[in-house]
């Protein structure tokens, strides 16, 4: 059985990929966490979740981590493929409210529910990318496909600052 956020001890750091993989670039966050899991060994103090567009079902995961990184698409007036990070402070200040995709608003609501229960992560960071293609279909656009590597590199840096080092899986080492 897969390890889930619902059993075992609370993990310290969480990575949550969200989006709808049936709407091409909308699924960017999910594609990122899938690739991350394929290419790297995940240490015990790191939890990774493909959240899809799951809404409230993500709450237990969010309440089980102290630091949370969320990967998603964002509707910003910037060129497709632009990567932008939001901090927890941006979210609290409400600066970005209304600018995100429908399930993103769900995410912020869920975070506020976690806060109400005094169980929100201490830090939340959103790593987002501006989509190029939101048509029905599978797979990312050629603009966003290379951004997976960008975001994974960014994420590894951020994790390293927290003392978490991601080692490539032996089988995933490319020549």
């Amino acid at each position: 059985m897969n390890r889930t956020p619902n059993n075992g001890p609370a993990a310290r750091t969480g990575i949550l990929g969200i989006g709808n993989i049936l709407i091409r670039d909308e699924g960017f966050g999910v594609h990122c966490v899938r690739q991350l899991q394929e290419e790297f060994l995940v240490p015990g103090d790191l939890e990774i979740l493909d959240g899809g567009t799951a809404g409230i079902m993500m709450a237990p995961f969010m309440e089980s981590v102290q630091a949370l990184y969320v990967i998603d698409t964002v509707n910003l007036p910037a060129a497709p493929g632009t990567v932008h990070c939001f901090s927890d402070h941006d979210i609290r200040a409400g600066d970005i409210q209304g600018m995100m995709s429908p399930h993103q608003l769900g995410l912020l609501e869920i975070l506020s529910l976690c806060r109400l229960r005094d169980r929100a992560p201490e830090t939340v960071e959103l790593i987002t990318v501006v989509p190029a293609d939101l048509s029905t279909g599978l797979g990312l656009s050629s603009v966003l496909e290379p951004r997976i590597a960008t975001v994974i590199a960014l994420l590894r840096e951020k994790l390293a600052e927290r003392g978490i080092v991601l080692q490539p899986r032996p089988s995933a080492v490319h020549a």
């Binding site: 799951a54 529910l113 599978l138």
Partner: protein
């Protein structure tokens, strides 16, 4: 003078639903329900392996992942005439029950209770009186003086901070909010506890299905969770007992908190029992399957036409032609090319967007019909059909709930009050209570079967050359879900999902008959057009989640205002 009120978006969760109403003298006279996003799953599935369809369909919606997975594997099994082992049925039944329990708790407390409960009013509650009120409804450890005092302090802190968080969008102080402060405080406390119990249901689901939010243990032909009582890597005795413990805790919450809360709200808002009936044709499919051939069920299904509850007619198997042959979808008022009404096997999905036309096309949602008639689906439909058919479990819960509503309301009410906005909430709570009993029952059936040495979980599907058609249904938390598949030479040729929110939120048809949302809004009161709480109450009572009906982002991405009076 008639006023037009636009509520857009109306869902608190995924999807994008727009409701337009015309009001005259404080009453709604006409309504339009419009899905504002296009659906396209069918296009993705064409040409794919039917065994993979469920992996894609469970991505249609983030809230209803599990239900699309179940309906999809059942559709393929039906096309192949493939029976599955009893263990696979029991495991699927457990998955279904646990998912629904999670979903119903979330829907009532998180997504719709705040239409009836005034959080800010809870600050005025007398703690002692709140304890007495709660004790009069049910015994529950959370109904204590200290707990209510803590919750009141928490609400005070939120109000003082000016950051209302999840409570930010409520219509506080609205004239239609009539609960006493003590009932509001009790409900807010239960709202916070509900978060723990929806999580327990979710946790049990994750144990049995491998992973949440996207379950992994299904397969065309059965399930993939190997059963071995003594093997740590499989669904073993320890894990199964853990599931049972969680299911029992959730059952306790439903019987002692959720159901009593809904009964109390129904009684305190008894004036609302006259509003929101709308379409009284009901459709539910049987589920919680009890035999490999799919002819025995723990929850009945069938139809009721024109509110004739005693005239309910049952569906008798998962292959019942009475269901199969009577479903069609109409696009006369939907943004698709043409104006046909077709059986799902024969449908096509060719978008044809016009503007919002009051008397023309105005929705991306198609209008499903049964024998040409609009049908209301959801827990109310299931409970009504069960009651009409004399199903014992349903009858016991309905009669008990109605007698408790009567006592609290000080007036005798009968089953006719269920045709209403609060009736939909009451039916959902009754269904949750039944499912919480059935979850334990099916857990035991699974254990007994394993004890007898039956560990089978899968029958291998084979795809013959040529064409096969199949349908799979599932009584999901929001109602009747059906997937329809046409397979040719082992590949998907056509695939249609006729989903609960399509039945309920669909537009008018070629005969100009209102869909259930639309019909239910007509004659609702509306005290303040700028704050149309009454519209939200009735639409939210259906548990709207139209991500599955339509799930695309609006390509225009225009700014939308929540409420517009024009």
């Amino acid at each position: 003078m008639a006023q037009r009120i636009v509520v857009d978006p109306i869902t608190r969760i995924e999807g994008h639903l727009r409701i337009d109403v015309e009001a005259d003298n404080g009453r709604i006279t006409r309504a339009w329900s419009s899905g504002q996003m296009w659906r396209g799953i069918e296009v993705i599935l064409q040409g794919r392996d039917p065994r993979d369809a469920w992996l894609f369909t469970q991505r249609i919606c983030g809230v209803c992942t599990t239900v699309h997975a179940l309906a999809s594997v059942r559709a393929v099994e039906n096309a192949l005439g493939l029976e599955i082992p009893m263990n696979a049925h029991y495991i699927r039944n457990l998955v279904q029950a646990l998912h629904a329990l999670h979903d119903h708790i979330v829907h009532f407390y998180i997504l719709s209770a705040l239409d009836w409960v005034d959080v800010v009013s809870a600050l005025k509650a007398d703690i002692g009186k709140t304890v007495r009120l709660a004790d009069s409804l049910a015994e529950w450890p959370g109904n204590s003086f200290n707990r209510f005092r803590e919750v009141q302090a928490k609400v005070q802190a939120i109000v003082d901070s000016g950051q209302l968080g999840p409570f930010a969008n409520g219509y506080w102080g609205h004239p239609a909010m009539i609960l006493p402060p003590e009932a509001n405080l009790m409900a807010v406390s239960h709202y916070l506890e509900a978060l723990d119990y929806q999580r327990k249901a979710d946790q049990a689901l994750a144990i049995i299905s491998g992973k949440n939010p996207h379950i992994q243990n299904l397969s065309v032909g059965g399930v993939t969770a190997a059963i071995n009582p003594d093997n740590e890597a499989t669904l073993n005795t320890e894990r199964l007992y853990w599931v049972k413990q969680l299911a029992e805790e959730v059952r306790g919450f439903i019987h002692n908190v959720y159901l009593p809360d809904v009964i109390a709200i129904g009684a305190l808002y008894k004036d609302w029992l006259q509003y929101g009936a709308g379409v009284t044709n009901y459709l539910a499919v049987p589920d919680m399957i009890l035999d490999t051939r799919g002819t025995k069920f723990d929850l009945p299904g069938g139809i009721i036409m024109n509110g004739d509850v005693r005239g309910a007619r049952a569906f008798t198997s998962t292959d019942d032609p009475f269901f199969r042959d009577n479903v069609a979808e109409c696009i006369a008022r939907s943004w698709y090319s043409g104006d046909w009404t077709r059986h799902p096997y024969e449908e096509e999905t060719v978008p044809d967007y016009t503007d919002f036309q009051d008397n023309g096309k105005y929705s991306w949602i198609k209008a499903p019909r049964f024998q040409g008639e609009p049908m209301q689906v959801g827990p109310l439909a299931q409970v009504m059909v069960g009651y009409g058919l004399g199903h014992k479990l349903t009858t016991r819960y309905v009669d008990d709930a109605l007698s408790r509503v009567s006592t609290l309301a000080g007036a005798r009410v009968d089953a006719s009050v269920l045709h209403s906005t609060p009736g939909r909430h009451l039916a959902r709570a009754i269904r949750a209570a039944m499912l919480s009993d059935l979850a334990i029952k099916h857990w035991q059936l699974l254990m007994d079967n394993i004890d007898r040495g039956d560990l089978a979980i899968y029958n291998k599907p084979t795809f013959p050359a040529g064409e096969q058609q199949g349908f799979g249904f599932h009584e999901a938390p929001r109602g009747t879900l059906s997937h329809w598949i046409v397979i040719r030479d082992g590949k998907i040729r056509n695939y249609q999902c006729v989903v609960p929110s399509t039945w309920n939120a669909g537009p008018r048809d070629s005969a100009d008959k209102d869909g259930p949302y639309e019909a239910s809004l007509v004659d609702n009161p509306i005290a303040d057009p700028e704050r149309p709480l009454e519209v939200l109450r009735t639409v939210h009572s259906f548990d709207p989640c139209i991500a599955c009906a339509v799930h695309m982002l609006n390509p225009g991405g225009e700014e939308v205002s929540r409420v517009k009076v024009v």
